[in-house]
Symmetry: C2
Subunit: 211 residues, 2 copies
């Protein structure tokens, strides 16, 4: 289905946001070029991995001159869709939903939080991060009024699948899922699981102590 020639490896994809952050910082400082050694060091890859990463989506840099920062930044921004603006909603405004709503760096990424939804009548009508919490029953009509690009799920695992289905039916383009459950959906999903993340750390600690 997809164009094999333009496919970027999952490892490179996971590094694109890091490239973007560092290049943006350098560009903001008015720096124009960076050597592959220096950029590789900042990202935490080898110069050869760096070249392999960047060769997957373009031809950058001349031997001995380093990489042109703004050119590279434009390419990566385009790959990440940062040349467009994105509207996001969050469903489930518990502690984690609140923390995500209050995350200060969405604006830099052209992401705008447009609505919050919860089932708790005690929360509905209150304001978090400048956005009013609506009753989840209003979600289908909200989708008709204002298109939503990203649906963020911070509900209980039990509620997550139904919420994902409402998001897909409403026309969301992708789901950012913090509920510890695998969703059945045809949309792209980025899953962020706190419990899995800390187990990966425990594995590293445990392995190190046994050596």
């Amino acid at each position: 289905m997809s164009d094999e020639g333009s496919a970027i490896s999952p490892k490179t994809i996971s590094r694109l946001p890091i490239y973007w952050r560092y290049l943006k910082e350098l560009d903001d400082f008015g720096i124009e070029r960076i050597s592959s050694q220096e950029l590789a060091k900042r990202i935490g890859v080898t110069p050869s991995q760096l070249r392999q990463d960047l060769n997957q989506f373009g031809q950058f840099g001349q031997h001995g001159y380093g990489y042109p920062i703004s050119e590279l930044l434009i390419s990566i921004s385009r790959l990440l869709g940062l040349n467009k603006s994105w509207r996001m909603i969050i469903v489930g405004v518990g502690n984690l939903g609140k923390a995500i709503a209050s995350y200060p760096n969405f604006g830099k990424r052209n992401i705008k939080l447009t609505a919050l939804f919860d089932v708790d009548p005690g929360k509905v009508g209150t304001v978090v991060a400048g956005v009013k919490i609506r009753n989840i029953s209003e979600m289908p009509s909200f989708f008709k009024e204002q298109p939503v690009d990203i649906g963020t799920i911070c509900t209980t695992p039990e509620a997550a699948q139904a919420v994902a289905e409402m998001m897909e039916a409403g026309g969301a383009l992708g789901i950012w899922n913090f509920a510890p459950v695998k969703l059945k959906t045809s949309l792209p999903v980025k899953h962020l699981h706190l419990g899995d993340s800390i187990l990966e750390l425990l594995y590293c600690i445990n392995r190190r102590n046994e050596e």
Copy 2:
């Protein structure tokens, strides 16, 4: 430095927590065996990837009989260090620190939240998730009284490096880092960056729309 023979690939490591969660669920239901097809489907890998994953740390299952769940669960639990108990602190009790402190599933993973630290005098002395917030200046003495295994950093990017150094000096075994900054430390670090995570989702949405 490490024993090459016992190294597990990073991809497999990232799947170990997912294996653990599903096997634990099945074991809690009293189910004794699972076919490789069924387990692979639940995890979201192919049966051949599943076999490659599991072969990296043991010999499980007999042809035609499927995998013995409790045996597999014990092996994975041991790899993840879940046969021990772990003490965790969180530094930086803003929205995200609060959300992590309130995460309900640490107990299942033998992780106990033993202290919270913040610099804000308005927060010090208040209680979150049953744990009192202490002044960050008390951290060195706390480490002397009670060993800490996992140091969680939810501070600003500017404060994170100094906090990581205090954790390392105090004897923490690993760092769970939510601050958007690369830490210089000799400890194992698991980095969880909300901004990077959503950019990975945007990449997938963007690529899909262009096909």
